[in-house]
Symmetry: C2
Subunit: 208 residues, 2 copies
């Protein structure tokens, strides 16, 4: 059964509400907007409403005027963002963009980005921030880019093989804790990464 929710599916997490046009455009283009618990408060404060609210609802100020779908999930063993992703997978959703995942508490910023390792094989997830589009890849793939785009990499394992094409600082084999994987640069309209372990890829919206 196909899921009944209109794409694109966008989750608004509890971090900083984005300002960059790419993130704002993703937010505005949502066919289905899902609020992770308290992120609803910010939306309501600017006169907007999501289609779905998911969480333990302990952070939502006032649901009086909300007539969308409420998923009350009181499980204390996962975060509100995890609840939203789990619910998306359960409903057969294949692709999700997450905004508001970063920019406030650093524990949540790191954890939210690290979630990509856990979920990327189950659902096509990308986190869009004021600086980057962030996703996870394993194996060999090609990615759309632009010349000069800053590309940073964080592999899941501190010791893995990685090969790249069209990146300024080419990787061709073993990377470890001491290999600088930040602020690489795309040389063309695509680049490829082949890795022996999952790697989180940060693609900058513009020069940073």
């Amino acid at each position: 059964m196909n899921n009944p929710f209109k794409p694109p599916i966008v989750i608004l997490a509890n971090g900083k509400f984005p300002k960059h046009e790419i993130a704002v455009k993703a937010f505005r283009s949502a066919g289905t907007l899902i609020c992770a618990d308290g992120s609803y408060n910010h939306l309501a404060s600017i006169g907007l409403k999501p289609h779905v609210i998911i969480g333990d609802l302990d952070s939502v100020n006032d649901l009086t005027n909300f007539d969308g779908l409420i998923i009350n999930d009181s499980n204390q063993n996962n975060s509100d963002l995890e609840k939203c992703i789990d619910w998306s997978i359960m409903n057969g959703i294949k692709q999700v963009a997450i905004i508001g995942a970063t920019g406030l508490r650093e524990d949540m910023t790191v954890n939210n980005i690290m979630l990509l390792y856990r979920y990327f094989e189950k659902i096509d997830l990308k986190i869009i921030t004021d600086h980057f589009t962030i996703f996870c890849n394993n194996g060999k793939n090609s990615f759309p880019s632009f010349k000069g785009q800053i590309v940073s990499l964080i592999p899941q394992n501190s010791n893995c093989e990685m090969y790249t094409t069209n990146l300024k600082y080419a990787l061709h084999g073993n990377v470890n804790n001491y290999t600088n994987l930040s602020s690489n640069e795309s040389l063309n309209e695509t680049f490829t990464i082949e890795s022996s372990a999952p790697v989180i890829i940060f693609c900058a919206h513009q020069n940073l």
Copy 2:
């Protein structure tokens, strides 16, 4: 030989300059203030100067009025913050507080926090942000706290044993990808953590 640099040693990294009083106090109390490359620009713009600047100096706008120590390290295989930490270790410095490590680019925020795993056995490092004091621990240790303090944990390995005392959600054995390690809460003036692998600990300055 003891290092000749006056403690406390504080590194100012290139992220967001902090506002929280705990971070600002750490900055103001520096006996030796080290700027990671371009972070000097911000200081200079508010009429302040560090004692040391370390980096490839490609981001520093103008050094005309700087009469401190300049360490020009053009190695492109590590970040400016790594150069500062390496230099501190090389100079026999035992303890460093880092501010400005987070809050702007997410690739740098994650990488800077992950550096704690690499360095914590070589130097006593803590990152102080607008929300947390962040450090790394292995084995069993007790930490100063306050009742209600939010404590978040990120273990280096997705599968490790962890035991805690004085935390609201007690850990007593195996943790994995699905154990929620964010937003735990201290129940007393100290808490202990015993872990079979290094774990990054975020201690909140106050209720978040």
